[in-house]
Amino acid sequence: MRLLDQALVRRAAPVRSLLVLDAILGAASAGLVLVQAVLIARIVALGFSGASLDDVAFDLVLLALAFAGRSVLTWGFEVAGRRAASTVLSELRLELVERRLRSQPLATDGAETGEIAATAVQGVEGLEAYFARYLPQVVLAVIVPVAVLGLVVAIDPISAALMLITLPLVPVFMWLIGRYTEERTRERWLALRLLSTHFLDVVRGLPTLRAFNRGRQQAAALDEIGERYRRTTIGTLRVAFLSGAVLELAATLGVALVAVTAGVRLVEGGLGFQAGLTVLVLAPELYLPMRQLAAQFHASADGVAVAERMLELVDEELPSRPEPNLIAPSAMSATVRFEAVSFAYPSRPGLVLDGLDLELYPDETVALVGPSGSGKTTVGSLLLRFIDPVGGRISVGGLDLADCRADFWREQIAWVPQRPTIFRGTIADNIRLGDRGATERSVRDAAVLAGADRFVQALPLGYETLVGDGGRPLSAGESRRIALARAFVRDAPLVILDEPTADLDRTSAAVVAESVERLRAGRMVLLIAHRPELVEHADRIVILADGKGRAAITDEVL
């Protein structure tokens, strides 16, 4: 993290007005700091020369008011900073989601999704300290020292010169932070996360450890790893904390220097008492905002490190293509052709598909079989236009699919993925994803056809049962049936079924197979499978191997 990270500061653009407000509040606060110093010095000086309480009463009231004013300004400062932060964070979150939804959703590997979700949440939270505290503090760290120095110059130029001598220590500290601490903080954070993941790994693997009688030894290992980590970390901290110490030294030495010099000059009559006191009270205020800046910097550095991955995602250039405007013909009557289609994932070497030819005719079920990793799911993603071929083309009724509008095309497709997502909401809501306007009746009918009705009816709340995060957990077979019901309710001419019976026991698999049989009637179906049970429902079988397809007969697969 740099002192002012361009990418981060740019993010704060929408809340510029709040940052300006922060600056105004900060400036007002700085003004009151000056007033306070002058008043304290004046009261002490009056008391020194024997004034009574009545003589200073007015100044005391003013001093109290100055503090009260600063107190309100501090409050406003905090509120404005947090308000700015919450706006920035909210925009970041939404932008990230929007990009994921709008860009090709499956262009990355499925496994990454969870990681991205985690970075999105933690990463965004990690930035709060940066926007709420650090950025506003930058403003203060500039305004306050300038104001203080300005007043000191007016009162006593010699003290101002002394303060200016100590100030170069500050850039030294900045340099220390920028060069050294940064990397170390990052390393430390990574090591800490590694330790935390290791602990999670051990706790997750507890049943396995115990089954092999290796459970007890781990405590000692954890202890040892922790101790080793502590020793290396303390080593880095010894150096890392130096930057803070240097700044603190600049502050205290500055105060001491000003005090001693002012004292000697007072004796010699070169300086007035009240002026000396004012300068003394002001001296710590010169350094305080910078010390706080350092503290905020450290507090937000960890968060910024967490956010890095997320910012990469948000700042990633999306391939910009003009939105095609053709409308694909209906899959009810048009043939879908994969013509020498090749595809490669950017994250993986080699081609997944390498010159695949495949035809899907209306009202025909094609089973696509092949070993795991042969690219079956990729064919589905291409058909859904989550990804586009890197070579060859996919045509619908002779029209290149890449020239057709994706949203209209997808309206013709019902997709049952391998691991369907169950969204938070009722079962009925989840089925309605297939068709938002579906009536209660058609939701039920779809569930019956998908073989889901029986288990749903057995639930106390039936279709109103809450599922998804925090709701009733669904088994793999139940989720699959809900996803099938989505496909039924969607009533689309093209259906893509991705391993609908994988990991199901025989009874559930049989129920799903039956409903697949019902679903395929009158539709174009791409059935992705590596298990034979379903293949008998297909009109035609294509074996996918080495990135190419070849026709096969049922017996060969079974």
Binding site: P105, A117, A259, P417
Partner: protein, 549 residues
């Protein structure tokens, strides 16, 4: 609350001398700061009386000393307190682990769901803040505050009283009041954040389906709504959080004003040397540094205590499976294992996971246990490993109840290759050696060969040292299963239990795998648990477990 703190201190287990040292350095940091301002104020006041410069030398030395000593004290304090935090983190992990280890897996079942396990790990991590951010600041504030008050009282008792009252208000009343104001919003904030988080995770995880169904816009709209709720609440929270700092500043100001007032008054009445007015005023101003971190400390303490309570809930569980007081000698191989009319359930009030089930495993026999998911197949494994005791019937080794043996002796008789077997984020070698730490590379190769994955491992650039990634994510489902299998084959256990070893494999591969295992395990007893047909033809006996209504 103090009881919880005390128990958490035991878990983090840091020596008192270290705590005392860190606190002492913290106190010195504050007091040197107070000393610097007070002496400087005195120095300037005394100088204004135009004495000989020499007579100021004591004050000058004092100012310089405090100016140098304070950064040093602060530096050492930060090192000492971070050292304490790191120590407590290491200890906490080890101690919590020791407490939950005997509970796994059955009594920890409820924590394995969803994110609870990572929350648990996060909770343990947060214990490092207990001392650093939660306990040290109040302790330091108390001692440094008391010392400042005492110092002020020496010069002018009334000033001491005023400062004491101010520090009490600013250090105790204000932080507690601010905490109670912000508690309600912070609870609601946490709820709103949780809701948005799950929405976010769900949207990202299901982004492909949302796109396929054309629901991106809808989804963005609901996200925007959840987000604006969170933003609204966080603004309210900022309002409450800022209150603490604002009030503390106000109290500081009022205290300084009153201290100045009583000092001026005392001097006017001849009770106070005039050079002490500045000293007292500046001392009061500097003393408030002690209470500055307390609002934050209250918040931190609340969060850490909540995490700590969740941890204590787990560590307080009494292990249900314990070794007998006088265990039998370890069972000898070969062994006959029997489940006799067993009923088992995971918790009181829950449905029995298995009821009236019997099974006999004679030495060298190959038994296939067939049944749909949910019929209790995995419960059989847990009973065999004594992760669970039957509530009726018994499990025996050569006619002796399992409960008469030491748990480790029971488990060393059985090697499990289960569908939920864990691969640790380490090398293939480390994962295999878990089964037999003393195994050499030749033995590892033999086990990998028997699991039919040796040539693949050898083809990897790093061979046995290849890292498998978190939960074996770098491997395919089939590769994972084979490594798990090799690990089980590496043990000397006379009984091999295979729990759905072919779950993620295509049929030809699955068939080959099962055949391989049966031939590799020659001589050992095999229990193959599956819902699929592979292996049935190779078995001596097939037992069917029916789904209970």
């Amino acid at each position: 609350m103090t009881a919880t703190i005390r128990r958490l201190m035991l878990i983090t287990d840091v020596r008192r001398t270290r705590l005392a040292l860190a606190a002492l350095l913290g106190v010195l940091t504050i007091l040197f700061g107070v000393g610097l301002m007070a002496t400087a104020g005195f120095l300037i006041s005394r100088a204004a009386e135009h004495p000989a410069v020499l007579s100021l030398s004591a004050a000058i030395v004092g100012v310089r000393f405090f100016g140098l000593a304070r950064p040093l004290a602060r530096y050492l304090e930060r090192l000492a307190s971070h050292d304490v935090a790191l120590r407590s983190l290491g200890r906490a992990r080890a101690q919590v682990y020791e407490a939950v280890e005997p509970l796994a897996p059955v009594q920890l079942e409820d924590t394995r769901r969803g994110d609870l396990l990572s929350r648990f790990v996060g909770d343990v991590d947060s214990l490092q803040n207990l001392y650093l951010r939660g306990l040290e600041p109040p302790l330091v504030a108390l001692i440094a505050g008391a010392a400042s008050v005492a110092l002020a009282a020496i010069f002018l008792p009334a000033a001491g009283v005023v400062l004491a009252a101010g520090l009490f208000l600013g250090g105790i009343v204000v932080p507690l009041a601010a905490a109670s104001v912000s508690r309600r919003t912070s609870v609601r904030y946490a709820e709103a954040r949780g809701a948005l988080t799950s929405e976010l995770v769900e949207t990202l995880a299901g982004s492909a389906e949302l796109a396929a169904f054309g629901l991106e816009r809808d989804r963005l709209r609901t996200m925007r709504r959840a987000d604006s709720t969170l933003v609204r609440i966080s603004r309210r929270a900022a309002f409450a959080d800022g209150l603490g700092d604002a009030l503390r500043l106000l109290v500081t100001g009022v205290t300084v004003v009153v201290v100045l007032a009583v000092s001026v008054q005392a001097h006017a009445e001849g009770r106070l040397d005039r050079v002490l007015i500045a000293l007292l005023g500046l001392l009061a101003l500097a003393a408030f540094e002690a209470v500055q971190p307390l609002s934050e400390a209250v918040r931190e303490l609340q969060a850490t205590l909540a995490a700590g309570r969740r941890i204590l809930d787990l560590t307080d569980r009494v292990p249900r499976i314990v070794d007998p007081v006088e265990p039998l000698a370890a069972p000898q191989s070969p062994v006959t294992i029997e489940l006799e009319d067993v009923r088992a359930r995971y918790g009181p009030g829950e449905r029995p996971a298995l009821d009236g089930f019997s099974l006999r495993l004679d030495p060298g026999r190959r038994v296939v246990l067939l049944g749909p998911s949910g019929a209790g197949k995995t419960t059989v494994v847990k009973l065999l490993l004594r992760f669970l005791d039957p509530e009726r019937g018994r499990v025996t080794f050569d006619g002796q109840d399992l409960r008469c043996y030491r748990q480790e002796d029971v488990r060393s008789m059985i090697a499990v290759a289960g569908q939920d077997a864990h691969l640790f984020s380490a090398s293939i070698r480390d994962n295999l050696k878990l089964a037999r730490p003393e195994a050499n590379d030749e033995e590892l190769a033999r086990a990998l060969g028997a699991a039919r994955i040796l040539s693949w491992v050898q083809s990897l650039p790093d061979g046995l040292d290849t890292l498998v990634g978190e939960e074996g994510r770098e491997l395919s489902g089939g590769q994972r299963q084979r490594i798990v299998l090799a690990r089980a084959l590496l043990t000397d256990a006379p009984v091999l239990v295979l729990d759905e070893p072919t779950a993620h494999l295509d049929p030809p591969t699955a068939k080959k795998l099962v055949a391989d295992v049966f031939s590799a395990a020659r001589g050992r007893t095999i229990l193959l648990i599956t819902h699929r047909p592979e292996g049935v033809d190779l078995a001596d006996e097939v037992v069917v477990l029916r789904e209970r209504a």
